[in-house]
Amino acid sequence: MNDVTLLEAVVVAIPALILIGYTLVDVVRRPDLTGPRKAAWLIVAVIPVIGTILYLLARPLSPARWGSAPSGARVARFVEMLERRERGDLPKHEFVAATHQLLDQDRL
C-alpha cells in the first residue's frame, strides 16, 4: 500500500482492529459454540479480515429484541390497566379515574 496518509490509516485501522478484536472475544464467549466447533471458529477468526468477515457472516444474529420496555413504574402500571381494559376486566370509568390518579403524580 503506497501513498496512504496517517488519517486514512487510522480510519481504516481503528474499526478493522475493533472488529477483529470483537470477533475473537465473541467466539470465545459464545455459549452455543463448544468443543471442536469453537476451536475451528477460533482458527478462522484469527485470520485477520477474511476470517473476521467469514465469522461475522456465519454468526447467527442474537435473538432480536424487537421493542422497548416501558420506561418507569407508572408506564408499566398504566400498560397493565390498559391490558385489563382491553380484555374487558376493567370498566371504562374505573380505568379513566385510575389513569387520572396516576397522572396527578405528574411533575408538570
Binding site: I14, S71, V75, T99, L103
Partner: protein, 458 residues
C-alpha cells in the same frame, strides 16, 4: 374449488405438528430481512397479545400500507418465517418471481384471469403447507392502501382455512398482524407491529359453521362469518382511522400521555404501546374523538411555532441527566466524524439517487415499494463497485477490508447524522424555550388539559 381435487395429498391430522427447526434457507432469509429492517428503520417495536404465536399451522393476516416493506417487516418479526400468498403479478416481474419462489411464495390468480389458470393449485398448495404445520401469510385487503384504515377484506383467508380444516388439518390459528408506520415513505423512521390474539379455529368452529352444514370453503355462510371475524380482529390490530390528520393527532395524543407517565420524558416512548393507545382512541365515539384530535393538533401547532417539541418542552431542557445526554451525543458525533466522512464519500451518490426516486410522483404505497427496491439496487451496486475499486488498487486484502468496513462506515454516517440532527434540534428548542419563558405556565396548563382529554376518550 379444490375440494375433492385428486392432486391434493391429504396429509392432514397434524395434531402433533410441532414447529420444525428452521431450515438453512429460513435462517438466511430471516437474517437478511432483519439486517435490512435494522438499516431502514430507526425503531421497530412489536407488541404480542397473549396466546401462542409460534406453534402449529397458522394463517397470518396483515394490513397492507407499505407495499414491499410489509412482508419484509413481517419476515423479520413474526415468530416463524411465513410463506407469502400474493398476487401472481409479482411472479411476472423479473428477479422478483425467482425471489418469491425461493421464499416459498404461493401465487394467487385474479378471478378475471381464471380459465386455464384456476386457483385450485393455490388452494391445494396452501392446504399442504398448513398440513405441514407451516405459517402462511396473506394481505386480505388484496391491495396496498394509502388511507390509514382497513379496506373491505376478501374471503381468501377464510376459504383457505376452512378448506384445510375440512381436509383434516387441525389446530389452525388465524393471527392478525397490524403494521403501523410513523412515515411509510421515509428512511430511518419508526414502525410498530401489533400481533393480535390468534383466532383458534378448533375452539371456535361452531361459531362459523352451523351444525350439519358443509364445513368446507363452499359454505358461503361459514366463509362470511369467519371473514367478518378476521375483519374485526385485524381492525383491532391495525390502524383504523378516518384520515391521516386524525391518525397523527391521536397517535401524538397517545404519545403525550405516555410521556406524562414516563420517568424521563425525553426518552423515546414505547411506540407499540403508543399505537395501541391511539387505536383505542380511534374507537372512541365520534364527537369525543374529534375534540381530542383538535386539542392535540392545536397544542402541537403552538409548540411548532416556537420550534419546540413536546419532549423538549416537558423536559424543561435542564437537569444533569438531560445535559449529560446532550454531551454524550456531542462526544459520540465528534468521535464518529472521520468514519462518518468515509461513509459519506462512499454513500452520497446512491443516497442522492434514492432521494431523487423519492421525488417521483407515486402514491405513497407504491413509493413504499419502489424506494426500498431502488435503494437495494443502487446501494448494492455502489458497494460492489467500491469493493472492486479496492481490489484494483490494493489487491485481495484491500477488497476484504472494504467488505469489512463498508457496513461500519455506513453505521457511522447514520449515527453521526442522527446525533447531529438531534443536537441541532435541541439548540432550536432551547432558543424556543427561552423565547417562550413567559408562556411556560400557560402551555403547561394547556398540555394538562390535552392529556386529560386523551384519557377521557380512552
Amino acid at each position: 374449488m379444490a375440494n375433492g381435487d385428486p392432486a391434493l395429498s391429504q396429509r392432514g391430522v397434524m395434531a402433533a405438528a410441532s414447529p420444525s427447526a428452521p431450515t438453512r434457507r429460513e435462517r438466511v432469509v430471516r437474517k437478511l430481512a432483519t439486517l435490512i429492517v435494522w438499516g431502514v428503520y430507526r425503531r421497530v417495536d412489536v407488541y404480542r397479545a397473549d396466546g401462542d404465536h409460534a406453534a402449529g399451522p397458522r394463517m397470518s393476516v396483515a394490513n397492507h400500507f407499505g407495499g414491499f416493506a410489509d412482508p419484509l417487516l413481517l419476515m423479520a418479526v413474526l415468530p416463524r418465517l411465513p410463506r407469502i400468498i400474493a398476487r401472481d403479478v409479482i411472479w411476472k416481474i423479473p428477479v422478483a418471481g425467482s425471489v418469491m419462489n425461493w421464499l416459498g411464495g404461493i401465487p394467487v390468480h385474479k378471478p378475471r384471469d381464471k380459465g386455464e389458470r384456476s386457483n385450485d393449485v393455490m388452494f391445494a398448495e396452501a392446504y399442504d403447507a398448513l398440513a405441514d404445520g407451516a405459517h402462511l401469510m396473506i394481505f386480505p385487503e388484496g391491495v396496498t392502501r394509502d388511507d390509514p384504515s382497513i379496506a373491505p377484506i376478501k374471503t381468501g383467508a377464510a376459504r383457505i382455512v376452512l378448506g384445510a380444516r375440512s381436509h383434516g388439518v387441525d389446530r389452525i390459528q388465524i393471527a392478525p398482524a397490524g403494521i403501523h408506520y410513523e412515515d411509510k415513505a421515509a428512511l430511518r423512521s419508526a414502525v410498530s407491529i401489533q400481533l393480535g390474539r390468534p383466532i383458534d379455529i378448533d375452539g371456535s368452529i361452531t361459531r362459523y359453521v352451523a351444525p350439519g352444514t358443509d364445513p368446507g370453503p363452499s359454505n358461503r355462510d361459514a366463509v362470511r362469518k369467519l371473514t367478518d371475524e378476521i375483519d374485526e380482529q385485524l381492525r383491532r390490530a391495525a390502524p383504523d382511522f378516518a384520515d391521516w390528520a386524525e391518525a397523527r393527532a391521536l397517535t401524538h395524543g397517545a404519545e403525550m400521555l405516555l410521556r406524562s407517565l414516563a420517568d424521563d420524558p425525553t426518552e423515546p416512548v414505547p411506540i407499540a404501546t403508543r399505537d395501541r393507545i391511539a387505536g383505542q382512541l380511534g374507537r372512541a365515539p365520534g364527537e369525543q374523538k374529534a375534540t381530542t384530535a383538535a386539542a392535540v393538533t392545536s397544542y402541537d401547532r403552538d409548540l411548532a411555532a416556537l420550534g419546540l417539541t413536546d419532549a423538549w418542552f416537558l423536559s424543561g431542557m435542564t437537569g444533569r441527566r438531560f445535559l449529560g445526554k446532550l454531551l454524550w451525543s456531542l462526544v459520540l458525533a465528534i468521535a464518529l466524524l472521520p468514519f462518518a466522512i468515509a461513509g459519506a464519500v462512499i454513500n452520497w451518490f446512491p443516497y442522492l439517487v434514492v432521494k431523487a426516486v423519492g421525488l417521483l410522483r407515486f402514491a405513497p404505497a407504491v413509493m413504499a415499494t419502489i424506494k426500498p427496491m431502488a435503494a437495494i439496487v443502487v446501494f448494492g451496486a455502489t458497494w460492489g463497485f467500491t469493493v472492486w475499486a479496492a481490489f484494483r488498487s490494493f489487491g485481495l486484502e484491500g477488497a476484504a477490508l472494504a467488505v469489512l468496513l463498508i457496513p461500519v462506515y455506513l453505521v457511522a454516517v447514520i449515527v453521526f447524522t442522527e446525533r447531529a440532527v438531534h443536537l441541532w434540534r435541541a439548540f432550536r428548542a432551547w432558543r424556543g424555550l427561552r423565547r417562550a419563558a413567559d408562556m411556560r405556565d400557560t402551555l403547561a396548563a394547556r398540555r394538562r388539559e390535552v392529556v386529560a382529554e386523551v384519557v377521557n376518550a380512552l
